[in-house]
């Protein structure tokens, strides 16, 4: 879908927020953080966006 549409759905990652049921704990590049699903939003895909790497779900 993201290969064709000019919009993407993004959910921000943060390291400084409080945990909640709608914030998914992840580890990205060794840092623990949260995906704030309460702030999920569509955004226009820009050509400057790049792939940063996978994030892991802590066990």
């Amino acid at each position: 879908m993201n290969d064709h549409l000019r919009t993407v759905i993004v959910a921000p990652m943060t390291t400084g927020s409080h945990p909640a049921r709608f914030r998914i704990p992840v580890t990205f590049q060794g840092k623990p953080g949260l995906i704030a699903l309460d702030q999920i939003a569509p955004s226009t895909a820009s050509g400057s966006s790049s792939e940063w790497g996978p994030c892991e779900r802590p066990r």
Binding site: P12, A20, R21, F22, Q39, T44
Partner: protein, 215 residues
């Protein structure tokens, strides 16, 4: 005392109960109804006198069990692991409990007349972690506990808002024109209807909004 040979035959040959070789009345299963697919005939292996659990109904490991019964046994293990064992005693008590009880633990009120050693009991089992148990027509049913996946979100949202943690994490990652939008709070009821705003109403709302923000 039940006919143990007949019970073993029952466990091997039939998934659903009714120990025909035994006197069914003595096991409290005379009114047991046949149960469908995910059922298992389990035998009461241990009766323990304690505050919470009276009967441990287990599929004995010595008996070859079919797939549904195996599922029941697995779920039974998870049930006992979930803390239905009585009290929180020492490690020795805990290990003894694990050794003795390999099965589904039923609270006394639900076990009722099934709490007899050697009784064959029907269990409608599923893959469980937090099961809901009930006795209906002489059959102990164990069903998965359905929980609302959205449970607790409202409380968490209230807590996050109260702590001021609901600001945008990436404010710069918006769309064109986002800066012009004004958040007017949640809609109290119904679908938001568009009404042509009069100037007076807009001014009133703006004043209310600014006073709320200043607080």
């Amino acid at each position: 005392m039940p006919n143990c040979g007949a019970i073993a035959d029952q466990l091997r040959g039939r998934r659903t109960l009714r120990p025909r070789g035994c006197t069914a009345g003595s096991h409290g299963l005379s009114n047991a109804t046949p149960v469908a697919a995910k059922s298992a005939a389990l035998r009461v292996t241990t009766v323990m006198l304690c505050t919470i659990v009276v009967a441990a109904i287990g599929a004995s490991r010595s008996n070859p069990v079919s797939s549904p019964s195996g599922a029941a046994q697995r779920c039974a293990t998870s049930v006992s692991a979930a803390g239905t064992r009585p009290g929180s005693g020492s490690t020795r008590r805990r290990s003894r409990w694990w050794r003795v009880c390999e099965g589904v633990c039923h609270p006394a009120a639900r076990a009722g007349q099934h709490a007899q050693r050697g009784a064959i009991v029907d269990c409608v089992a599923d893959h469980l972690r937090a099961p809901r148990q009930q006795v209906r027509n002489g059959v102990i049913e164990i069903r998965p506990l359905h929980r609302d996946p959205r449970e607790g979100r409202a409380e968490d949202a209230r807590r996050v808002t109260a702590s001021g943690d609901d600001a945008l994490v990436w404010p710069e990652f918006g769309n064109e024109g986002d800066g012009d939008l004004v958040w007017r709070g949640p809609v109290r009821s119904g679908w938001p209807r568009w009404t042509p705003p009069s100037e007076a109403r807009s001014r009133r709302r703006a004043r209310a909004w600014s006073s709320r923000r200043s607080r």
